[in-house]
Protein backbone atom coordinates (compact mmCIF):
# COMPACT_ATOMS: atom_id res chain seq x y z
CA UNK A 1 0.00 0.00 0.00
CA UNK A 2 1.02 3.61 -0.48
CA UNK A 3 1.82 6.21 2.17
CA UNK A 4 -1.03 8.67 2.80
CA UNK A 5 -0.09 12.32 3.29
CA UNK A 6 -2.18 14.96 5.00
CA UNK A 7 -2.15 18.68 5.76
CA UNK A 8 1.23 20.40 5.54
CA UNK A 9 2.95 17.09 4.73
CA UNK A 10 0.76 16.73 1.64
CA UNK A 11 1.56 20.31 0.61
CA UNK A 12 5.30 19.70 1.01
CA UNK A 13 5.30 16.46 -0.96
CA UNK A 14 2.91 17.90 -3.51
CA UNK A 15 0.96 14.63 -3.69
CA UNK A 16 -1.57 12.94 -1.40
CA UNK A 17 -0.03 9.45 -1.68
CA UNK A 18 3.57 8.21 -1.98
CA UNK A 19 4.80 4.79 -2.99
CA UNK A 20 6.51 3.03 -0.13
CA UNK A 21 10.09 1.96 -0.97
CA UNK A 22 10.75 -1.74 -0.48
CA UNK A 23 13.53 -1.27 2.08
CA UNK A 24 11.32 0.41 4.70
CA UNK A 25 10.61 -2.03 7.49
CA UNK A 26 9.83 0.16 10.48
CA UNK A 27 8.59 3.63 11.42
CA UNK A 28 12.06 5.04 12.17
CA UNK A 29 13.35 4.06 8.72
CA UNK A 30 10.24 5.53 7.12
CA UNK A 31 10.70 8.86 8.87
CA UNK A 32 14.41 9.01 7.87
CA UNK A 33 13.47 8.31 4.27
CA UNK A 34 10.75 11.00 4.32
CA UNK A 35 13.13 13.62 5.72
CA UNK A 36 15.68 12.71 3.05
CA UNK A 37 13.16 12.85 0.21
CA UNK A 38 11.37 16.01 1.50
CA UNK A 39 13.78 18.04 3.68
CA UNK A 40 11.07 20.71 4.28
CA UNK A 41 9.28 18.21 6.52
CA UNK A 42 11.94 19.06 9.13
CA UNK A 43 10.37 22.50 9.42
CA UNK A 44 7.19 20.99 10.86
CA UNK A 45 6.81 20.99 14.63
CA UNK A 46 6.28 17.23 14.49
CA UNK A 47 5.82 14.45 11.98
CA UNK A 48 3.93 11.50 13.41
CA UNK A 49 3.46 8.25 11.57
CA UNK A 50 0.22 6.32 11.82
CA UNK A 51 0.14 2.60 11.12
CA UNK A 52 -3.29 1.16 10.53
CA UNK A 53 -4.96 4.35 11.76
CA UNK A 54 -3.13 4.57 15.10
CA UNK A 55 -0.08 6.61 16.11
CA UNK A 56 2.99 4.40 15.89
CA UNK A 57 6.27 4.41 17.82
CA UNK A 58 9.58 4.55 15.93
CA UNK A 59 10.22 0.90 16.66
CA UNK A 60 6.98 -0.31 15.12
CA UNK A 61 7.48 -2.77 12.27
CA UNK A 62 5.74 -1.97 8.99
CA UNK A 63 4.46 -4.77 6.78
CA UNK A 64 3.37 -4.60 3.16
CA UNK A 65 -0.35 -4.57 3.89
CA UNK A 66 -0.27 -1.88 6.61
CA UNK A 67 -2.06 1.42 6.03
CA UNK A 68 0.62 4.08 6.58
CA UNK A 69 -0.05 7.81 7.00
CA UNK A 70 2.11 10.88 7.62
CA UNK A 71 0.52 13.07 10.28
CA UNK A 72 1.78 16.66 10.58
CA UNK A 73 0.71 18.70 13.64
CA UNK A 74 -3.07 18.46 13.86
CA UNK A 75 -5.18 21.61 14.02
CA UNK A 76 -8.78 20.53 14.38
CA UNK A 77 -11.35 22.14 16.64
Amino acid sequence: MGILLFGAAKDIAGVPVLEKPEHIRDVATLRDWLYEAYPSLRQLRSVMIAVNRAYAADSQVISATDEIAVIPPVSGG
Partner: protein, 133 residues
Protein backbone atom coordinates in the same frame (compact mmCIF):
# COMPACT_ATOMS: atom_id res chain seq x y z
CA UNK B 1 -21.93 5.43 28.26
CA UNK B 2 -23.74 6.29 25.01
CA UNK B 3 -21.49 7.76 22.31
CA UNK B 4 -22.21 9.75 19.15
CA UNK B 5 -19.22 10.53 16.92
CA UNK B 6 -19.54 12.13 13.52
CA UNK B 7 -17.48 14.03 10.95
CA UNK B 8 -19.43 15.74 8.16
CA UNK B 9 -19.92 18.98 6.22
CA UNK B 10 -22.30 20.68 8.63
CA UNK B 11 -22.83 20.09 12.34
CA UNK B 12 -25.19 21.74 14.83
CA UNK B 13 -25.26 22.15 18.58
CA UNK B 14 -28.86 20.98 18.49
CA UNK B 15 -28.08 17.49 17.18
CA UNK B 16 -25.47 17.03 19.91
CA UNK B 17 -27.93 18.27 22.52
CA UNK B 18 -30.70 16.03 21.18
CA UNK B 19 -28.38 13.06 21.54
CA UNK B 20 -27.16 13.73 25.09
CA UNK B 21 -30.40 14.86 26.70
CA UNK B 22 -31.88 12.12 28.85
CA UNK B 23 -34.14 12.34 31.88
CA UNK B 24 -31.65 10.46 34.05
CA UNK B 25 -28.99 13.17 33.59
CA UNK B 26 -29.11 16.57 35.22
CA UNK B 27 -26.17 18.46 33.82
CA UNK B 28 -25.20 18.97 30.22
CA UNK B 29 -22.06 20.81 29.20
CA UNK B 30 -21.53 21.70 25.57
CA UNK B 31 -18.46 23.15 23.93
CA UNK B 32 -18.95 24.70 20.50
CA UNK B 33 -15.94 25.92 18.57
CA UNK B 34 -16.82 28.45 15.90
CA UNK B 35 -14.73 30.03 13.16
CA UNK B 36 -13.36 33.39 14.26
CA UNK B 37 -13.15 36.35 11.90
CA UNK B 38 -9.54 36.92 12.96
CA UNK B 39 -6.41 35.06 14.07
CA UNK B 40 -3.97 37.14 16.09
CA UNK B 41 -5.68 40.30 14.84
CA UNK B 42 -5.44 39.34 11.16
CA UNK B 43 -8.82 39.18 9.38
CA UNK B 44 -9.77 35.64 8.32
CA UNK B 45 -11.98 34.98 5.27
CA UNK B 46 -12.52 31.28 5.76
CA UNK B 47 -11.03 28.05 7.02
CA UNK B 48 -10.78 24.79 5.17
CA UNK B 49 -10.84 21.61 7.27
CA UNK B 50 -9.61 18.28 5.96
CA UNK B 51 -9.28 15.05 7.90
CA UNK B 52 -7.97 11.52 7.81
CA UNK B 53 -11.45 10.33 8.47
CA UNK B 54 -11.06 6.70 9.47
CA UNK B 55 -8.28 7.53 11.94
CA UNK B 56 -10.05 10.67 13.17
CA UNK B 57 -13.13 8.61 14.05
CA UNK B 58 -10.91 6.05 15.76
CA UNK B 59 -9.08 8.72 17.79
CA UNK B 60 -12.40 10.29 18.81
CA UNK B 61 -13.56 6.87 19.97
CA UNK B 62 -10.40 6.57 22.06
CA UNK B 63 -11.12 9.94 23.68
CA UNK B 64 -14.70 8.85 24.45
CA UNK B 65 -13.33 5.64 25.98
CA UNK B 66 -10.97 7.65 28.19
CA UNK B 67 -13.85 9.86 29.29
CA UNK B 68 -15.87 6.76 30.19
CA UNK B 69 -12.92 5.44 32.21
CA UNK B 70 -12.26 8.66 34.13
CA UNK B 71 -15.72 10.06 34.83
CA UNK B 72 -19.31 9.07 35.53
CA UNK B 73 -20.59 10.41 32.24
CA UNK B 74 -23.82 9.00 30.78
CA UNK B 75 -23.65 10.34 27.24
CA UNK B 76 -21.17 12.09 24.98
CA UNK B 77 -21.44 13.53 21.46
CA UNK B 78 -18.34 14.56 19.49
CA UNK B 79 -18.95 16.20 16.12
CA UNK B 80 -16.48 17.83 13.75
CA UNK B 81 -17.18 19.70 10.53
CA UNK B 82 -15.04 19.49 7.38
CA UNK B 83 -14.75 21.53 4.19
CA UNK B 84 -15.00 25.32 3.82
CA UNK B 85 -16.08 27.09 7.00
CA UNK B 86 -16.73 30.81 7.32
CA UNK B 87 -16.61 33.11 10.37
CA UNK B 88 -19.44 32.17 12.72
CA UNK B 89 -19.75 28.63 11.36
CA UNK B 90 -19.49 25.78 13.86
CA UNK B 91 -16.36 23.66 13.44
CA UNK B 92 -16.62 21.34 16.45
CA UNK B 93 -19.14 20.40 19.12
CA UNK B 94 -18.49 18.33 22.24
CA UNK B 95 -21.52 17.64 24.43
CA UNK B 96 -21.45 15.70 27.68
CA UNK B 97 -24.30 14.70 29.99
CA UNK B 98 -23.78 13.60 33.55
CA UNK B 99 -25.69 13.46 36.80
CA UNK B 100 -23.11 15.85 38.23
CA UNK B 101 -22.25 19.13 36.58
CA UNK B 102 -18.63 19.26 37.77
CA UNK B 103 -18.02 15.94 36.05
CA UNK B 104 -19.65 17.19 32.85
CA UNK B 105 -17.43 20.31 32.81
CA UNK B 106 -14.24 18.31 33.42
CA UNK B 107 -15.08 15.64 30.87
CA UNK B 108 -16.10 18.15 28.18
CA UNK B 109 -12.93 20.21 28.59
CA UNK B 110 -10.78 17.07 28.57
CA UNK B 111 -12.46 15.85 25.38
CA UNK B 112 -11.94 19.09 23.43
CA UNK B 113 -8.35 19.44 24.70
CA UNK B 114 -7.59 15.87 23.60
CA UNK B 115 -9.34 16.32 20.26
CA UNK B 116 -7.13 19.29 19.48
CA UNK B 117 -4.02 17.27 20.36
CA UNK B 118 -4.64 13.87 18.83
CA UNK B 119 -7.40 13.81 16.22
CA UNK B 120 -6.02 13.98 12.67
CA UNK B 121 -7.92 17.00 11.37
CA UNK B 122 -6.17 19.96 9.77
CA UNK B 123 -7.28 23.46 8.98
CA UNK B 124 -6.00 25.91 6.42
CA UNK B 125 -6.57 29.57 7.21
CA UNK B 126 -7.42 31.89 4.32
CA UNK B 127 -6.53 35.41 5.41
CA UNK B 128 -8.08 38.58 3.98
CA UNK B 129 -4.63 39.70 2.77
CA UNK B 130 -4.43 36.65 0.50
CA UNK B 131 -2.11 34.50 2.58
CA UNK B 132 -3.02 30.87 3.13
CA UNK B 133 -1.50 29.13 6.15
Amino acid sequence: MEILIDIKDTITVQEALDFIQAPECGGEVIFAGTVRNHTKQRPVLKLFYECYEAMAISEMQKIAAQVAEKWAVQRIAMLHAVGDKYPGDIAVVIAVASTHRGVAFDACEFAIDMLKETVPIWKKEFFADGEIV
